[in-house]
Amino acid sequence: MNVDLPAGTRNYSYAKDMAIFRTRAHWALLLSLLVFVFTAPLYWGNYWLGVANLIGITIVAATGLNILTGYCGQLSIGHAGFIAVGAYTSAVLTNRFEWPFLVGLIAAGLVAGLIGLVFGIPSMRVKGFYLAISTIAAQFIIIWVINHWTGVTGGFTGIRVPPASIGGITFVSQASQFYLIMAITALTVFFAKNLARTRVGRAFVAIRDNDLAAEVMGINLFRYKFMAFFVGCFLAGIAGSLLAHWTGFMNAENFTFMDSILYIGMIIIGGSGTAVGPIFGVISIRMLQQGVMFISPMLEGSFLDLPAGFTTGIGPMVFGLVIVLFLILEPRGLAHRWALFRTSYRLWPFSY
């Protein structure tokens, strides 16, 4: 920890040493970030707020996956399935039973967490890619059940989700949803950062690095692996609930296997096992996706007589290429580059 400190900063008490925001620069950055975020709706259009909302929701989901896969090392390729559980729990509770949004939100997290536990059971015996199939199975079984349990979920017809509302305030516009989603995102990131520093977080890391050694050291594998599954899927459920109220209409087709794989991609590109990793990963992938959508209409507008397949092919090609280049150039994720940058900034001008 101390290595990270800027030159000339000393901590004189344990509490200070452990604080997340330690220096004045930290507080200044935090404040400006908060000011920026809470005034954003003033100068961002509807579209950018929409994108920010999507990014916020995805950060919550990716943070959950990061706890499960990045910290605890339990590879999950079914995250979209758990998000679907959260989305439908919330949708069913708020639409069919007309329960308040907050209850739906919490219930979404809990139900997704419990379902996560069920599919986490095989983690007792297998790991790595073998465990991944159990989560892939989760994805397919969950979607199948949602599609056919027509009496509750509406099945293939889909289900409408009322806008989120807390105590009389209804979050309809993108700007109002932006505050809701950003608040939850901030809470999640803060929670994840803290979780990683507790006994639980350290146990997760021990299990990831070598579960046998961890067990020998007295870490209860059963308990901590389950805990990781619960927390990871709980956050997926929360993200699902937010997604449902943001989209307004749920169809199980919205939660594809490709999405699950992409979530893994996000935390790898961001840097798995770090608190900032998911944030970087989600922002870069989501922005890249948005950027790619503009490329072909833009090129189409500026150059005439492009080959027929050009407009359709260029988007995914650029997307794939950037992912490949990112990983070749920075295989340890953006968080690693960030850490290097931070260290050199702190030590500046004394680079060694």
Binding site: Y130, W144, H148, I264, P307, P316, P331
Partner: protein, 294 residues
């Protein structure tokens, strides 16, 4: 009884097609420990390339197929040389994710080169059905089954007796040790990617002669996942046996359970079976158990 026979034969033959795709996955895993997420996209790309050779260029079969195989070998070489080689010795999850990037890239490249959205290959196999007792099976599946068996035998022999095969096995075991022995690991990886792409190409030709070429081919990789997990990620024998098992489970499960449950149960049955198998045999039916050391 007639139904049972029909279900069983359908299951086994369809399962052999899954096996064929799964072999390519196992090959890469066996020699480098990388899960190739771009498998389906490789199948898609080589199917379109076959279309380009046979339909667009109008080449005869005897010339078209070798060209497709050559193309797939070159493709495999390029993927390894330019994308995976720079990542040697990096965290394995990064390697897996990079194949995801490859998947998107190929998908884009396919739309780029072939703006058509659907195409049919010329019929390669005779259309008459074969009757086994009261059951019918179309020849395409039988051919696919035969081809995957032959490929399986060739691959197993290669890995067992050829020096390169032995070296591949050793590489998967311990890359550092093998490098210390003076064996170029890069060459092994390159070889295994070339072979895997060739398998994908053969799979692509078979799949698209059955159902035509659509973007759906990109998702065939998925079926292969469940097959390899059931069979064991590093076992050719596992892949060749698990395919028919999954096929049977789908066919019998779909056949007898659909009336009792909801439609579409066929798609989830393999996963339910796999979860059960994992409790009994955590490393798949034929996978090598890992000995854990601290």
């Amino acid at each position: 009884m007639d139904e049972l026979l029909q279900f069983a034969i359908t299951g086994v033959t369809v399962g052999m097609v899954y096996s064929l795709i799964a072999l390519g996955f196992v090959l890469i895993w066996k020699s480098s420990g990388v899960a190739n997420l771009a498998l389906g996209q490789l199948v898609l790309l080589s199917s379109w390339f076959t279309y380009g050779m046979l339909v667009q260029a109008g080449l005869p079969l005897w010339l078209g197929f070798p060209l497709v195989i050559l193309f797939s070998l070159a493709l495999g070489w390029m993927i390894e040389r330019f994308i995976l080689r720079p990542l040697i010795a990096q965290p394995i999850l990064s390697l897996i994710t990079v194949t995801l990037g490859v998947a998107y890239f190929i998908e884009g490249a396919v739309s780029f080169i072939w703006p058509k959205s659907v195409a049919a290959l010329p019929r390669i196999f005779p259309q008459e059905v074969v009757r086994i007792g009261t059951a019918v099976v179309s020849q395409e599946y039988l051919w696919a089954a035969a081809i995957s068996l032959v490929l399986f035998i060739l691959l197993s022999l290669y890995f067992k007796y050829n020096k390169m095969g032995v070296v591949m096995r050793a590489t998967a075991d311990d890359q550092l040790a093998i490098q210390a022995c003076g064996i170029p690991v890069t060459k092994i990886f390159s070889r295994s990617w070339m072979l895997a792409c060739m398998l994908a190409a053969i799979g692509g030709i078979l799949m698209s002669s059955i159902g035509g070429i659509t973007f759906g081919l990109a998702e065939t990789g998925l079926k292969a996942f469940s097959v390899v997990i059931l069979g064991g990620l590093d076992s050719f024998l596992g892949a060749i046996l698990a395919g028919p098992i999954i096929g049977l489970a789908e066919s019998l499960g779909g056949g007898y359970l659909t009336p009792l449950t909801w439609p579409g149960i066929r798609e989830v049955i393999p996963f339910i079976i796999i979860i059960i198998v994992m409790f009994v045999k955590p490393y798949g039916l034929f996978g090598e158990p890992r000995i854990e050391r601290i």
